[in-house]
Amino acid sequence: MGRIKVLSPEVVDKIAAGEVIERPASVVKELVENSIDANASTIRVLFSEGGRKSIKVIDNGAGMDANDLKLSIKSHATSKINNIEDLLQLNSLGFRGEALSSIVSVSRTKIISRPHELDKGHLIFIEGGKITDFQPAGAPPGTSIEVNDLFFNTPARLKYLKDKNREASNIIWTLISLALASPAISFQAKHNDRGVLQTSGRGDILRTWGEIYGPDKCMDMLKIPGVEESYFTISGFLGKPNLALSTTRGVHLFINNRPFYSRPILNAVLEGCREYFPRGKFPQIILFIKINPVHVDVNVHPAKREVKLSEQEIITKIITEASQEVLQKEIGQYKPAVENEKNGFSLPQLLREKESPQQGKTPQAEKQKIFPEAPSQKTDFLQIGSSFIVTRSSQGLMIIDQHGAHERLNYNKLLSQLRDNPRDTSRTLLTPLTIELSPAEVELKEEIIAYLKKLNFRVENFGPNSLLLRAVPQCVNPKKDPLPLCHELLQQFVEDFGKDNLSQIEKEAIITIACHDAVKAGDSLSPEEMEHLLSALFSHPENTTCPHGRPIIKELTLKELGKFFGRQV
């Protein structure tokens, strides 16, 4: 026997740490909550390498004297509650007394703190849970905690961390929630010395939101009329549909100024907005619920992320109604949701670089993986606005962008032509045409002649700043004047010249040719032309986007139509 031992405090800490401290963002959350509880008016968060290398949280809060500082890093030591009754009256964000001890057990941490009323501050170094230095120090009033080398002694945990950009992104989202929850505190955050967040802490929630998402968007945030019940109040702002996001990240919920997550409440909001937001688009909302602490159980989740409310049903109902009311008042009677790609709201500037830009592709195009089934019978085609062709599909209704579709077909043809018959696919012009060159093009005359030759254009020198166009590729529309196309190709070439990517340039040239030659939006088509186009299109199921990445087909299934009209189909 004797196989069972009580774990040493350090090990206990490390295990417990795993629950609370998952990643740099958790560290930031815990430290910032401590600063908020210390009544700081300014909190600065400086982190590097996504927080994996170092995280510094500096506040001008109450600070700790020598004793408090030493105790603070011990488990279950906290200034925030004394007994279980305090939990019921909880007004602060932190209470378990675990966070700091967990953090210092899995990192190399330096804390400098000085209470306002004292002249002297103290400095403590902790490495993997052990105090390695403790002495007085000069310091500004407040506390600064620097957490370096997170998880240096728990390699397993370290492996689970994502790359620095992902971790940084998490930290920033964490800070956004905290900053919104405390509009009276000025937050400043920097990643690798680059500013990522700045709020002025003037106490105005909408202004704070604007400082994060862009002040010009504030006017599209609608004030939710406050609801006051005996034991709770609800207030906040809801963004108009033109601010919609394609994820729920813009939904910020707060209970008693603590950011939190609750599936039921989130659903309540979405429910209230359903009619006004298109499918796949979610609202921006800042919602504050102030509720008597006895009705809230925060001890549900280790990271205090989820809370349970005792009167959930009533609250969710009120939230749904309030959001609906706000939108209705603003937008008036129900209007069909407009999928406005141009006003598509994007993430806060800070995070935009983190999301990898996809060249020309939009979420919609990616979603369409399967080609809608071709019409089984001969059907009528309808041209709308001289730009779109509407026809029946097996599942319902199909709308085709004529220009995009034709462009795609041209492009495919050109590519295969170039692949199969690299030479002799040009058509000689009856009369050669002159191309006037700009000075920049004159500089590159030799290169241009070679480049155009590759694309099956034949040109010759025809003057100090002119070329003579003798032949164009087969696929170029013989009825159209090829000169505008040539000029566009030349311009593209000059712009991209020297960028080292000849194949890319050629590819773009082919796209340009394909585009130039296709029917445009606004060209009327005869039924025969439409049929010809569509049958060519449907014979190749992979044709779902134009070469620029834009979708060319939109299908509306009967089921979707049914849902739209509130009918079961």
């Binding site: 600065r44 000069g138 500004p140 604007g210 400082e211 010009d216 000075p439 920049a440 003057g463």
Partner: protein
């Protein structure tokens, strides 16, 4: 004398006219230099030194640079402080009889640079002229790349003000009378500045001549418009400046867009020591702009804003209303995030309009410049819209109404092709539709070529030669090509041009005519485009004043937004300024240092008034933050008086008219002066110039001499400055003489010290300034930190202990004589003695004048009406 070629004769003649410049003598595609110029050029530019020895036995040293690459070479020479005279061939070599006529078209000198490559976009490049009037100096300075000219006058007594202005402007060149440049005192004054190229006046104007000259040059009836009427010294300065520019730039002075008189009494006086010690523009230890106040506050988006904010930083204001107007605007911009961010975004797209217009007026603007101007003007209506909502717009528009200049934008938009080239003689500058003549010519060219292209088809039909081809070749032009096999089908009107192996090339009379038409048209197109461009540029030049007034507004807007952004990022507060003598700061921080130590900067409070807490004696160890504290107080005052928010929780600032600093111990051994002498000079300067409204920082006075001497001097200086009947200025005095703390019993003097925490042998600096005196210097401890071995430290402590035991407390002798005896009799005797010993027979006139000047100064100082300092 050996025979000299006509060309060398021409060269020598020109060179004699420009002895102090390197003459770039245009020879074909090169600029050549000869004799000494060649030696210098070869050395500085690293080019080969060759020689020319055509018709004489002597070898003439020669070096040259290619014409089209000349600019970078000129830039290097300018950078090394040389002047370059550009001499061009002014007639067509083909038409010249004998040697080609040559003329110097421009003299480029470090202070008169127009070219972008030789300028720093965010800094001005000043040329300074100093003229001596009957009782004042006149200062006129210009940056010809922006066309600004500023003038002021300084009374003779205020030589430190003169040196302060020179320090502020950091001119590359100084133009003044030979007398002044030779004057010993003046030479000393400018010795401390970075290298300045000096030049004595070429023509010496009298006042009436100067005035007449200006009336003529600027075509005005009187000088009221420039506020120069009746200002003798100022007029002299401007006249000399204008004269020099006429001579060197060889064109009319239209490029001087703005002439403004400014009053030095409107600005806080800062001498060059203070600018350097407070690190306003450069860090002290490496002279880099990083680590300066300007680097912290400059978040401007345009080059003009960047130059303006540096001017503001170096000229803090004294006028409450203006300061508050700036603060109001900054506050508004801080609170209105949307306006601030959107205007900043628009400003980002605006080019350096000041220098663009400068080039337009100078005559060197090219199509790209006008294109940049066009782009910048496009954004103006957006700014107008944003401005309309700002309450502070009245202050911004106090001098000029906002004019969105859309008529100029329209003109440029109609006239300029998108992305024009840099060269002006190869066309593609003007848009079609702007000039009917140009369009017509272009049509001829295009239609002509189309006709030629079509000719292939027509001639094929006419001759029946199916394989006939039209072509073009650089040497022969357009041709019709017929293979050998078809030669028999060639008609008579085909004229043979070129024979190839298997074909013949022909032209027809029609073809030739068309070809000529096209060539003609294209030549004319190029020259017409050039003319049209010049005309366009002139039209813009005519509007230069209008554009210039708007750039002033934009630069100010940019500067104010920059200050708002700095306030936001660094958490500054709005200072409250009053016309009293209080300085009260809560939680003050050093704006530059706090950014380098991140979170560990300890804030401090300060309270000074003119009654009980006027003179602060600060003791404590070195490296404990005393110097930083001193500087931060001065910087907070300075920033407040710029109209900026300040790094503190609260700040109440009573207007300070001058800031003096005596900081640091720079040995001037190279100039034959010891640390102590330099220190005493600086203290003397402070004593002579401080007023009750000044702020004085003294960091260690009395070093560099024996302890007792130093202490006594520091003591006496303290009493003197603290005395309201003498100076009574607010002073921070950091010292290692803690004997001085005994002075606290005097009214106005307070002791402060830097708090430390002792931990056994170790001393920890808390960086907090608290009332009270420190008991030790901790000098030995700091020596240990610096690395002195323990053996020395231990022995030093032993010695210190024994000295302290033996020494009684130093008590100042009680005053037996009245506080400030009337020493005028002594003084008078001293002066008489001075005159008596002058060796009249053996001094130069210059020295005599210097002596006389000094005596005059002394008399003025000690025998003014009430014996007090000015």
């Amino acid at each position: 004398m050996a025979k000299v070629t006509p060309m060398m004769e021409q060269y020598n003649k020109l060179k004699n006219e420009h002895p102090d410049s390197i003459l770039f003598f245009r020879l074909g595609d090169f600029y050549e230099m000869f004799y000494d110029d060649a030696q210098i050029a070869s050395r500085v530019l690293g080019i080969t030194l060759t020689s020319r020895s055509k018709s004489s036995e002597e070898k003439v040293p020669m070096a040259g640079v290619p014409y089209h690459a000349a600019e970078s070479y000129i830039a290097k020479l300018i950078q090394k402080g040389h002047r370059v005279a550009i001499c061009e061939q002014v007639e067509d070599p083909k038409k010249a009889k004998g040697i080609v006529d040559r003329k110097v078209v421009r003299i480029i000198s470090p202070g008169t640079v127009m070219e972008e490559e030789m300028l720093q976009s965010h800094e001005n490049n000043f040329f300074l002229t100093i003229a001596t009037g009957s009782e004042k100096w006149g200062l006129a300075y210009t940056d010809i790349s922006t066309g600004e000219v500023s003038v002021t006058e300084i009374p003779y007594e205020n030589i430190s003000t003169l040196s302060g202005e020179i320090g502020r402007l950091k001119p590359r060149e100084l133009y003044a009378s030979a007398n002044l440049l030779e004057n010993r005192t003046f030479k000393e004054t400018i010795q401390n500045q970075d290298k300045i190229l000096t030049k004595p006046f070429e023509n010496n104007f009298t006042y009436p001549q100067a005035r007449q000259f200006l009336l003529q040059e600027f075509s005005v009836h009187n000088l009221e418009g420039f506020e120069l009427e009746g200002r003798e010294a100022a007029v002299l300065a401007v006249a000399h400046l204008a004269n020099y520019l006429l001579e060197s730039q060889r064109r009319s002075l239209e490029f001087l867009i703005n002439i403004r008189f400014y009053h030095l009494e409107n600005f806080m006086t800062l001498d060059s020591h203070t600018r350097r010690n407070l690190e306003l523009n450069q860090a002290m230890f490496n002279k880099s702009p990083r680590g300066s106040l300007a680097a912290i506050l400059d978040k401007t988006k345009t080059a003009m804003g960047s130059r303006l904010i540096k001017k503001w930083i170096n000229q803090p204001l004294l006028h409450l209303e203006t300061i508050n107007a700036r603060l109001d605007l900054i506050q508004e911009l801080l609170e209105n995030d949307e306006a601030r961010e959107s205007i900043a975004a628009i400003l980002n797209s605006i080019y350096d309009l000041e220098r663009l217009i400068g080039r337009v007026c100078y005559g060197t603007a090219n199509a790209r410049d006008l294109s940049a101007l066009k782009t910048s003007l496009q954004s103006l209506p957006l700014i107008e819209k944003k401005l309309a909502n700002l309450k502070g717009k009245e202050y911004l528009l106090r001098k000029n109404v906002f004019d969105s200049l859309q008529d100029i934008f329209d003109l440029l938009n109609r006239a300029l092709a998108p992305s024009p080239p840099i060269t002006l003689t190869e066309g593609s500058i003007i848009k079609s539709g702007y000039s009917p003549d140009l369009d017509r010519l272009r049509n001829i060219s295009v239609e002509g070529k189309d006709w030629i292209a079509n000719l292939e088809k027509t001639e094929r039909e006419k001759t029946g030669i199916k394989s006939l081809k039209i072509g073009y070749n650089k040497v022969f032009g357009y041709y019709l090509e017929v293979t050998m096999a078809n030669q028999h089908l060639v008609p008579d009107y085909f004229v043979r041009k070129q024979t190839l192996a298997n074909a013949e090339r022909y032209f027809t009379p029609e073809l030739k005519e068309k070809e000529n038409q096209i060539l003609n048209a294209e030549e004319n197109i190029n020259s017409l485009e050039y003319e049209l461009f010049v005309d366009l540029r002139d039209k813009v030049k005519a509007e230069s004043h209008r554009i210039n007034s708007q750039t002033e507004i934009l630069a100010e807007l940019d500067t104010l937004i920059s200050l708002a952004e700095a306030a936001r990022e660094y958490n500054y507060c709005r200072p409250l300024l009053k016309d009293n003598k209080v300085i009260e700061i809560k939680g003050g921080r050093h704006p530059v240092v706090e950014t380098t130590v991140e979170n560990t900067f300890v804030p401090n409070d300060t309270f000074m008034d003119s009654i009980k807490s006027r003179y602060h004696i600060i003791t404590g160890p070195n490296m404990s933050g005393k110097s930083t504290y001193l500087r931060q107080v001065a910087l907070i005052v300075l920033m407040a008086q710029i109209g900026s928010f300040v790094p503190a929780e609260k700040a109440f600032i009573g207007i300070v008219d001058r800031i003096f600093t005596r900081v640091g111990a720079t040995d001037d051994l190279t100039r034959g002066k010891s640390t102590f002498l330099v220190e005493m000079n600086e203290v003397a300067q402070i004593i002579n110039n401080a007023t009750p409204r000044s702020l004085i920082l003294l960091d260690e006075v009395g070093r560099g001499t024996s302890t007792y001497d130093g202490l006594s001097i520091a003591w006496a200086v303290t009493e003197y400055i603290n005395n309201p009947d003498r100076i009574g200025a607010r002073t921070l005095f950091a010292t290692h003489y803690h004997e001085l703390t005994a002075l606290e019993d005097r009214p106005g003097i307070q002791n402060f010290n830097v708090l430390v925490e002792k931990k056994g042998e170790e001393v920890i600096f808390l960086h907090i300034i608290a009332p009270g005196s420190s008991d030790e210097s901790y000098g030995i401890y700091v020596a240990g930190l610096a690395g002195l071995p323990p053996e020395i430290l231990y022995r030093a402590r032993e010695i210190l202990n024994s000295i302290e035991k033996d020494n009684k407390e130093i008590k100042p002798p009680p005053r037996k004589v009245p506080l400030f005896p009337d020493d005028s009799k002594d003084r008078a005797e001293k002066i008489l003695k001075k005159i008596k010993v002058v060796d009249v027979m053996n001094i130069s006139p210059l020295e005599a004048i210097n002596n006389l000047y000094e005596i005059q100064q002394e008399i003025k100082k000690y025998f003014s009406k009430d014996g007090k300092n000015g």
